[in-house]
Structure formats: C-alpha cells, structure tokens
C-alpha cells in the first residue's frame, strides 16, 4: 500500500491498520531526514497549510509547524485568542475566509468534540485534527505507538496501561483505538471518578490499583490531570491523587520487571510522575517529542499526496 485510505486525519477511528503501517514507514524516512545536517526537504513547496488553534497548545503547535516547515510548506498560524471568533464569526466562516486565500490543508485544534469532522463536511480542504475537546488527538496516538514500536520493536502483543485522567483525555481515546488496531493489549487505570462510564464498551481492561496495573504492563502512558476541563471535584486533593496514582522511582524499582514510561506532556512534575522518573532511562518522553515531528511530517506528506494538483 502506498497511499492512505482517507483524505483527512480526523481520528484514529477512521484509519485502517495499513494506514498506520504506511505512516510509520514514511515517518522512519523522515526521522532520518530530521537527523541530517540540513533537515529540510522540498516536497511540499507548492502547498500552503493553515494551523488553526482555537485552544491553547505549545508542543503540538510547534511540532506541526516544524513538520510543515521541514517539508517546505508555506505556513500561516491562527490562534483564536487573537481572532475575529471573539467578534462572533462562525467556525465555517472563519475557515472559509482562510481557505479563500488558497490554503490547501488545515490543521485544527478545537475545544468542541467533532469540530474537525464537522469542518471536513463543509469545507473543501484536507483537514488534520490536532485535538478536538476530549474526543481524539490522532497524531499524538500515532507518535505514541511509533515510540513504543521504536523502543520495543513492535506494538503487537505489548501490554500498555494508560494511567490517570481518562475521562477528560483525547489522548486516551485515540491511543486506545490506535493500539487496538495494532494488536496491543490495553488497560486503563485511574480513580473511578476519572474513568468514563462507557469504558467497558471499548474492550479495554480496567484497574483501579496502580501497582497491579504497572506489574501487568510493558508500557505505562501517564496522563496529566486536566484541571482546566474539570467542572467539579473528581478527587479529594492533588496530594491524595499523587499518593494513589503518581509514579515515583521507588515504585518503579519495586516492580517485577522494568517498564517503559511515556507521557504526552505537559508534565505536572510531582503529580502524575516525579522528576527522577521523568528524567530516567525508562522514560521516553523526549523521544516522543522528537518522533512527533517525524510522524506529523509523514501524515502531512501522505495527505498532501492526495491533494489534486
């Protein structure tokens, strides 16, 4: 297979196993490219990409922008806080205005779940979802799986536990879809209040005891507690959360076998993981960030290949 089965990357839900395989193989080549003295290729020199961020982002926005620039695309950036959306403009109007400036591809982060799907039905451009509310964050899941593949050889058959705030996490849902497609075993672990009600329907194991979960897994993906999305109190205190669901070096060392620690960032050091864990050899957090650029280059390249000249 040499082309994606989709014209947009709206979520992992819409991808096939072969799509993920193709993205990873292409990302391998881009990873080599970004380790050259000159890290840029001219493939997308006639493509313009708009990064529309209706919600705050640091690493995803930087990573996308860097990926686009290393492919030689022209890039325009838009953030909602400085825009006319504050004046009452609708999403479709905002995007259509931007597209009328001959933009070929849109990378969008939006606080509302389904925003990118909605947009793909109403505008004539290739859309990449860079996170829509608590729904999906497909490129994060792809780079997470890519990093597991890089560290452990393959994803198939590996045991992955996703720890923490599953309820408010788009990373969790996309990761579950992506890992399932590749044949990994998945467990979620967190306080019951932060596990979604429908979690049983996703075909994942549920565990509330962190030690049991860590002893079971090969990889632990530690999620951040998303205080900004919480409209009520889901646990008594941060201190209590850390006691129950935080990983420190002592806990890691006491496990049956060494495990790999991942984190999508930003880290709350001392809450979900301690500094000595985040900076240890078992953590691949900075590899995830580097792989993020290669994986996003692959996604953008493969989607751009489907835009008619």
């Amino acid at each position: 297979m040499s082309e994606l089965s989709v014209n947009h990357l709206l979520g992992i839900k819409y991808l096939k196993k072969q799509d993920i395989q193709l993205i990873f193989e292409t990302a391998d080549h881009f990873k080599e490219v970004i380790n050259r003295p000159i890290k840029k290729v001219p493939s997308l020199r006639d493509i313009t990409i708009a990064n529309l961020f209706f919600e705050n982002s640091t690493r995803t926005k930087l990573s996308f922008e860097l990926a686009e620039k290393r492919l030689s695309a022209d890039v325009i950036n838009f953030s909602a806080s400085q825009s006319s959306t504050k004046k009452g403009e609708t999403l479709i109007d905002t995007v259509n205005n931007i597209l009328s400036m001959k933009v070929d591809m849109v990378v969008m982060r939006h606080p509302n779940p389904g925003a990118s799907v909605f947009l793909s039905q109403h505008v004539n451009s290739s859309i990449i979802n860079a996170g829509d509310g608590a729904h999906e964050h497909p490129t994060q899941a792809l780079l997470d799986s890519y990093s597991i593949r890089e560290r452990l050889g393959e994803v198939k058959g590996k045991k992955v536990v996703i720890v923490g705030d599953i309820l408010h996490s788009r990373v969790a849902l996309s990761n579950i879809y992506a890992l399932q497609l590749q044949g990994a075993q998945i467990m979620v672990c967190g306080p019951k209040t932060l596990l979604p009600k429908y979690i049983d329907t996703l075909g994942v194991q549920v565990e509330t005891n962190l030690r049991k979960a860590l002893n079971w897994c090969d990889v632990a993906n530690m999620l951040r507690v998303q205080n900004e999305r919480m409209d009520m109190s889901y646990f008594p205190s941060t201190r209590e959360y850390t006691q129950q669901y935080g990983v420190d070096k002592q806990l890691l060392n006491s496990l049956d076998k060494p495990i790999t620690i991942m984190h999508p960032g930003p880290i709350n050091r001392g809450v979900e993981i301690t500094s000595d864990v985040a900076d240890s050899d078992q953590a691949i957090i900075l590899d995830q960030v580097q792989n993020g650029v290669a994986v996003r280059m692959a996604v953008i390249y493969l989607l751009a290949a489907k835009i008619k000249h």
């Binding site: 082309e3 391998d28 080549h29 050259r36 890290k39 493939s43 492919l71 390249y301 751009a304 290949a305």
Partner: protein, 179 residues
C-alpha cells in the same frame, strides 16, 4: 510486449570491470572519494561495483552509501502513483569529498537533478560525478551527462530499459522492453 537482450551476463561483467577500472584511474585509492548508489535501483549497481573494487582491485576503506531522492523529486502530486520513499544510508561525511553518484539507467536526468539537491543536505562536496550503466541517448530533459557510462542506447520513449541483477531478480541481464 516484446523484449530484447541489450546486455547478457558476460557483457555486463566486462562492463562492470571496465567501470571499476575507470573509477580507479580517476580516484586512485578512494581516500577522498565516496560512492553513492541512488535508490531504488542504483544501489544494486553500487553494491556490485564496490564489491569488485574491494575484492578484485584491493581497494581498502571504500565508502559506500545510498541516497533516496523521493522527497526531492519534482513530480510529487503530478503522477497517478504516490511516491514511495526508500532508505538513505550515509554514515560518513561528504563535506569536501569527491562523490560518484551511481544509477542503473540515465533517462530524463530528473532523478539526478533531485539527487544533486538531496546530497546538499549532507554537506558541500568537492565534486560530484555520475556513473550510469545504461545511458539512454536523446531522452534528456535537463543538461545532465554521465562521466562514466556502461553502454549508450538509442531507445524511443515507449521503450523501457530494465536492468536485472542476480541478487534481486536472479539473473544478470539488461532488457530493452517494448510495451
């Protein structure tokens, strides 16, 4: 579809030896020279030449790399087929070195143009030469000519030149295919 043999295994072997000798003539002990096979098909020829130089002509410390030009091509989004990338393996410094690009067939010259751009990502070489097994005359789109050529062929556009290698296709032979 009809095909005719342009070069058989014996002729191919003679040409490979000649090309190896011509390289030695110009590059001496290869201390300042690196060979770069162009992906995907130039790598077989590059491997073969490198093996000859090392075993038959006792060249030591020969540096051989592979360069993929997919992301530097000028036909991205212009054809029916999506361009699939291959691996680039250059684990040495090309700065100030004499590079010999190696490809099996020189046709329009566009691949070589892409390779000339791609290699710049690795530094500024002193000089770049081109070695090609088959040079298809009268088909160039760009002012690019080989420094070393195995055989020059006059082929019309509908015809295709296919180079087969023992390592890949099980036989050493060059066909001219009329489709």
């Amino acid at each position: 579809m009809s095909q005719k043999v342009l070069l058989n295994a014996k002729e191919l072997n003679i040409i490979l030896h000649r090309l190896a000798c011509q390289l030695i003539e110009n590059h001496n002990d290869f201390s300042e020279t690196v060979l770069i096979g162009l992906q995907p098909r130039g790598t077989f020829l590059a491997d073969r030449l490198a093996k000859l130089l090392q075993t038959n002509y006792k060249i030591k410390n020969l540096k051989l790399g592979y360069l993929d030009i997919t992301f530097f091509r000028d036909d991205f989004r212009r054809g029916e087929k999506i361009l699939e990338a291959n691996s680039t393996v250059i684990d040495f410094v090309v700065e100030n070195k004499n590079i010999v690009f190696i490809d099996d067939v020189l046709f329009t010259g566009r691949s070589i143009r892409a390779a000339l751009t791609a290699i710049q990502s690795f530094g500024r070489p002193n000089e770049i030469e081109l070695l090609t097994l088959i040079d298809r005359r009268f088909s160039r789109h760009l002012p690019i000519q080989p420094n070393y050529r195995g055989r020059q062929v006059d082929a019309i556009n509908e015809e295709k030149v296919k180079v087969n290698w023992v390592e890949n296709e099980g036989e050493d032979v060059v066909y001219l295919i009329n489709s």
